[in-house]
Symmetry: C2
DNA sequence: GAGCTTTTTATCCTGTTCGTCCATTACCTC
DNA sequence: GAGGTAATGGACGAACAGGATAAAAAGCTC
């Protein structure tokens, strides 16, 4: 005979008179708990590879609660995506680079992007995963569509100041610049495993990291300072 | 009553006297057929998302053949990986850039990389997928480990010539340079979907493509020509 | 064409996986 | 504390997915 949770000592016919465990309701807590575990699961195994049962098992609650709070596997995955995107945008929006001189501002922005991507592998993985799915889940998200994107604006202002000051000569669009910066920082993390395997390098090593950070910053800055050559 | 394949006209009790279809054996053909369909399936849906049954259905043969020729889902996936990696390396190895002047050689290499990635989305997707799996499948592949990688060597020689000629002043390692080029070309394709969605751009558009190609080439070249600034 | 191996087809099996049903307990309001 | 709503737990089910079994046809060698 098993001692069930929720039984009172009186109910128990066994010889272990335990105090009633007495369940505590914690809606917001369970929600967060599920969301955190789900983030790890999906970031680690992808949407198809992630298992609802596995998530439930590592939660302090049960699978039923996932469906109660999120509706289903896909909605849970979407909630995860919205959370991680919300996080990075929130931080980006707090960046204040307008009191630095243009080159310093660009370097600071690259510095931030580089470090953030390096430290948030889960984010990188989730974005990669979502691209494998051709962003089909993200397309359904109103939260992500309404995210306030300030990086492009920030970049535009820096570029403008740089051109006005005569330091930046190249005619580069803010979005393209953002793409170039993101590409490098992202790729180092996202493609780390195959790259390490094929080229016998360790992209996670500290010295490699600092070298790469300087390289991408130098590349961007020298691009901006160089007059367009024309093709 | 159904008319079954393999029935002779005599066996058929129906009124349609068909000639015996008579099966043809085509081992290599079947193998290739499976491999091609599997490439599409895995590139499109990932390893976990890809379905053995779905592959079999789009093949002119049956699921049993997949197990007969490849052993299982994972081995089939590995065969796909080995094929696409083999393809790109084979082409890379045929590049001949040593009779171009250093800058032209670098630009030609970037041109090739850019176009290849742009045109082989399946390759990009499979590499992304494999990175989500932390390259655990690739690690098991002897074929990929033994691939002859010449890009780094090619780059090293170009850099050397450039430095000797006094055109390239920066002290950049070949692998790092390859990383930077790959990162940009790869990211444009791999992260196309989320990028388009968030920044309302179309990274697949032709004008965007040519603009980006020039930008990455300019960035690399100006990096190489610039003296290291130091931090 | 006999005998053997290779290639192919059709059917079945078992564990997994997402999702649901139903009952129970906590919490809040009056 | 009565009664209603929110939150929770555990077990069940139906579809699916990877793989295995058995047997037959094709092709090769002598």
């Amino acid at each position: 005979m098993k001692m069930e949770q929720g039984m009172t000592a009186d109910d128990a016919t066994g010889t272990t008179p335990k105090a009633k465990p007495s369940r505590k309701n914690d809606p917001e807590g369970t929600r967060q708990d599920i969301l955190e575990v789900a983030t790890e699961e999906f970031a680690s195994l992808g949407f198809s590879g992630g298992r609802v049962d596995a998530i439930a098992a590592r939660t302090r609650t049960t699978k039923r609660m996932i469906y109660y709070y999120f509706g289903g596997k896909e909605e849970l995955y979407l909630a995860v995506l919205e959370k991680v995107y919300g996080d990075i945008r929130a931080i980006e929006n707090r960046l204040n680079l307008q009191n630095l001189d243009p080159e310093a501002a660009i370097r600071a922005l690259i510095d931030f992007t580089f470090d953030y991507q390096e430290q948030h592998e889960d984010f990188i993985r989730l974005v990669s995963i979502e691209n494998i799915h051709r962003a089909e889940h993200m397309k359904k998200s109103k939260a992500i569509a309404n995210l306030n994107i300030t990086v492009i604006d920030t970049l535009a202002r820096i570029l403008e100041r740089g051109r006005a000051a005569g330091v930046f000569k190249a005619d580069i669009q803010p979005i393209d610049l953002h793409l170039m910066i993101s590409a490098f920082c992202f790729f180092r993390v996202s493609n780390r495993h195959t790259f390490n395997l094929i080229f016998h390098q360790n992209l996670a090593a500290t010295d490699t990291r600092t070298r790469h950070k300087r390289m991408i910053a130098d590349a961007i800055v020298s691009l901006l300072k160089t007059e367009a050559a024309g093709t």
